[in-house]
């Protein structure tokens, strides 16, 4: 267990002006690395967003272990320490960049076309750099081919093949079904600790988008996410959040088939559909579990609070369900910073304003998108659940400093998706004029 980030102490105006934006600190330190890290940089020499997300943060700066390096602005001492951690990794980062070039060449040799090489290879390149240093011309090609093949092997599709075999085999399916029934039979609501989780949630959401780091610690310790999930058993409650079409969550089917296009709402998905949603499409599973263990864990997960396994994910569902009230056209009684910013993003979209202002058939927005605008909170929470579920399967944890990025990123992806559908509809006369 790693300690979670603590919130920054209140800072005086003088201290605040001495604070340096974290992104600026990273960029300055990065620019000292020069051309050696060009393959990890964007067109103007800044570290790529993926370089920060996949390499610098988790492997070099490590804000989860070093909470004082987390906030979006840093005191001078912390800024110097963060810059130092990047400078000290100069050789490893340069070697990572070289390995990336070699792995991309191996990818071409092996005629692999699926997936995003930066996403798939960056972390492996850093590991290679750490263990082997710079690529040795005599062995690098072979090493790279093995690494790329290994990444293909770790691909979720391979797990999925085995999982599909298991659920489609009558004898195994019977056993799996029995464990599903057993898991649901012992399902019980969790009482939260006797703390004011509403106040903690308010503080965490109010710290979003500021220099402070939202504190998830207290909420996680108090099992506030699990406690909130007991409300999902009330008739219609989980449906109101868009997580099911049923009146109450029920035990899912084991399932044996799935299709990306017709996935039901999260709680209505079969066990197989839940795994399929994460493992298909080439995303890798960064976990030590084999396919049978992944399947067994998923069965247990379905019977837990929010149908998620990690208290941290449940706390984020709680915070997301609270913050997403901002997407409904109602006055907010006690808006936090997160509420204000989510509402700001949503209200900036012209098509959203049109759908709200104009009668349905006069808005020009195709019906399917119109419906999604009216039920955006449900769509938002569905997507948030899918994100948290995917992170659990990949063994990724969401830290306090990533909370806002997660909550805001979900809404951004909802908006980008709707904009894209709208763009496709233009020029097709999807609805005609009449």
């Amino acid at each position: 267990m790693s300690p979670s980030a603590t919130p920054s102490d209140p800072v005086s105006a003088a201290e605040a002006s001495a604070m340096v934006p974290r992104a600026v600190v990273i960029q300055r330190a990065w620019s000292d690395l020069g051309e050696s890290v060009a393959p990890l940089s964007n067109g103007s020499g800044r570290p790529l967003a993926r370089t920060v997300k996949l390499v610098l943060d988790p492997l070099v700066i490590r804000p989860v272990q070093n909470p004082h390096l987390a906030g979006s602005a840093l005191a001078p001492d912390a800024a110097a320490e963060l810059a130092g951690s990047i400078t000290d990794s100069r050789a490893e980062l340069a070697a990572t960049a070289e390995w990336f070039v070699v792995l991309k060449a191996a990818r071409r040799t092996l005629r692999i076309t699926g997936g995003n090489p930066q996403e798939k290879y960056f972390q492996r390149c850093f590991e290679l750099a750490r263990s082997l240093g710079r690529p040795d011309p005599s062995t690098a090609e072979q090493t790279a081919i093995e690494a790329v093949q290994e990444i293909v092997q770790a691909d979720g599709e391979n797990h999925l093949v085995r999982i599909r075999e298991a659920v489609q085999d009558a004898a195994q399916a019977e056993l799996l079904h029995a464990s599903l029934v057993a898991a649901w039979a012992t399902r019980a609501p969790t009482a939260g600790d006797d703390i004011d989780s509403a106040a903690l949630a308010f503080d965490a959401l109010d710290a979003c988008g500021t220099d402070a780091v939202p504190n998830l610690h207290g909420l996680v310790d108090a099992r506030a996410g699990s406690a909130a999930a007991s409300g999902l058993e009330d008739p219609g409650a989980a449906r109101a959040l868009g997580l099911t079409t049923r009146d109450q969550p029920t035990m899912p089917e084991l399932g044996a088939t799935a299709s990306k296009r017709t996935l039901p709402r999260p709680f209505d998905r079969s066990v197989f559909e839940r795994l399929f949603a994460v493992l298909s499409g080439g995303s890798s599973v960064e976990t030590d579990l084999d396919a049978d263990e992944v399947l067994a864990e998923e069965i247990l997960r379905t019977a837990q609070a929010w149908e998620l396994a990690d208290e941290r994910s449940r706390v984020i569902m709680l915070l997301g369900s609270e913050a997403s009230h901002a997407l409904e056209p109602v006055d907010l009684l006690r808006p936090t910073n997160a509420h204000r910013m989510l509402r700001g993003r949503w209200d900036r979209e012209a098509y959203v304003r049109r759908v709200r202002r104009l009668p349905a058939d006069a808005s020009g927005v195709p019906e399917a998108i119109r419906d999604d605008v009216h039920t955006v909170r449900q769509g938002y929470l569905r997507r948030l659940w899918v994100r948290m579920h995917g992170r659990e399967l990949r063994g990724q944890r969401t830290s306090g400093s990533e909370l806002w990025d997660t909550l805001d990123g979900i809404l951004r992806s909802v908006v980008m998706d709707q904009r894209h559908r709208l763009k496709l509809a233009i020029g097709r006369g999807a609805e005609g004029a009449a």
Binding site: P21, A23, A49, G209, A362, V365, G429, A433
Partner: protein, 356 residues
């Protein structure tokens, strides 16, 4: 606390007041950055953008790269004052370049006198420009999105005029490297045959000269009401009312932007004639170098007073309601700007290729 930055001469004015939209949308080049919206006058040679900063904490990571350290610090401390503009800032030109390309994608005024831009070349340059400022963009997938629209750029660039071949080759190489990094497959270059369907369609007959004309007129088409590069931006839509076999027919025709047929098979354009209560809405179809449509109408239509003989051409998804006419000065400014870009060595390759 949100803030706005207004550029006025050689100073930036910082304020907490809500910004007023005083620039016409058709001449606004924008970037959605992390925590802020940056906007320039697309037709002017200005370097620094106005900004609406909705999250100063998020924008703090890059503001100095666009506005220099002093303005970034003033935003951080929430000061409402005028700050002199710096000589330059590291990324302001790169950001401006991306904004110009995005503007061209949305508003390029292709028409009878202004050649169309190739969408794939534009997307290729957009992908590279977005890559240069990727860290400050709100959309984390902006580069991939543009790349997916650029998969046919190698073919389009293979057809670049000889004088621009060296630049085209540089762009193809840069695009290929970027696509390789992100795992996007570009389509290999093919010999273009894009004009074929254009030539084919040109032979189709219209029925515009059938019957006896009992009235005609024209109306400007708002650029905001139709997708860019579909309707010619320098032509009005024409209508005529004709008696055909004793029945009044409405005919509508509007010139297509050159190349429109290549990028959009159907445009989903509709023309409404007269007041909404008459319910005369005619779908327009690509017909040679124009979008045309015709429909029988009630005999009373011939009696409509002149001021009610209105014509409104639009894609209903873009324009569900009639908007105020676009200012002719703004439209002129955009068309003049476009013409100048065609042989400006500093313009995008898409613009220069179109200018050859």
């Amino acid at each position: 606390m949100s803030m706005s930055i207004r550029i006025d001469g050689d100073a930036a004015t910082l304020s907490h007041a809500a910004p007023s939209a005083d620039r016409a949308v058709i001449r606004t080049a924008m970037i959605e950055a992390r925590g802020a919206l940056l906007s320039w006058d697309a037709t002017a040679d200005e370097r620094f953008p106005d900004a609406e900063i909705h999250s100063p904490a998020e924008a703090a990571g890059w503001l100095a790269e666009i506005y220099g350290a002093e303005i970034a610090a003033a935003v951080r401390s929430g000061e409402e004052r005028a700050v002199p503009l710096p000589e330059g800032a590291e990324l302001v030109d790169a950001a401006r370049r991306l904004a110009s390309l995005t503007w061209a994608t949305d508003w390029w005024p292709a028409g009878v006198y202004t050649p169309a831009l190739d969408g794939a070349i534009l997307a290729a340059e957009t992908a590279l420009a977005a890559h240069a400022v990727e860290h400050l963009l709100d959309d984390e997938d902006a580069v991939e999105r543009a790349l997916r629209d650029a998969v046919d750029a190698p073919s389009a660039l293979a057809g670049a005029p000889p004088r621009l071949r060296p630049d085209a080759a540089v762009l193809v190489d840069a695009l290929a490297a970027l696509a390789d990094d992100l795992g996007v497959e570009l389509h290999p270059a093919m010999i273009a045959s894009a004009e074929d369907d254009w030539a084919l369609a040109a032979g189709a007959r219209t029925s515009l000269d059938e019957g006896i004309e009992i009235g005609h007129g024209s109306a400007a088409v708002r650029w905001a009401d139709v997708p860019a590069q579909t309707v010619a931006a320098d032509s009005d839509a024409q209508w005529s009312l004709r008696h055909v076999n004793g029945v009044p027919h409405l005919h509508v025709s509007v010139a297509a932007a050159p190349g429109a047929a290549v990028t959009r098979a159907t445009a989903g354009l509709w023309a409404r004639f007269g007041p909404e209560s008459l319910d005369i809405d005619v779908p327009l179809h690509r017909n040679g170098t124009a979008f045309t449509g015709a429909a029988p109408v009630a005999a009373s239509v011939a009696l409509l007073p002149l001021e009610e003989r209105t014509l409104w051409v639009r894609d209903p998804i873009l324009a569900p309601l009639p908007g105020a006419a676009e200012d002719e000065d703004d439209r002129d400014a955009v068309r003049e700007h476009a013409v100048l870009r065609l042989d400006d060595p500093g313009a995008s390759l898409a613009e220069r290729v179109a200018g050859e």
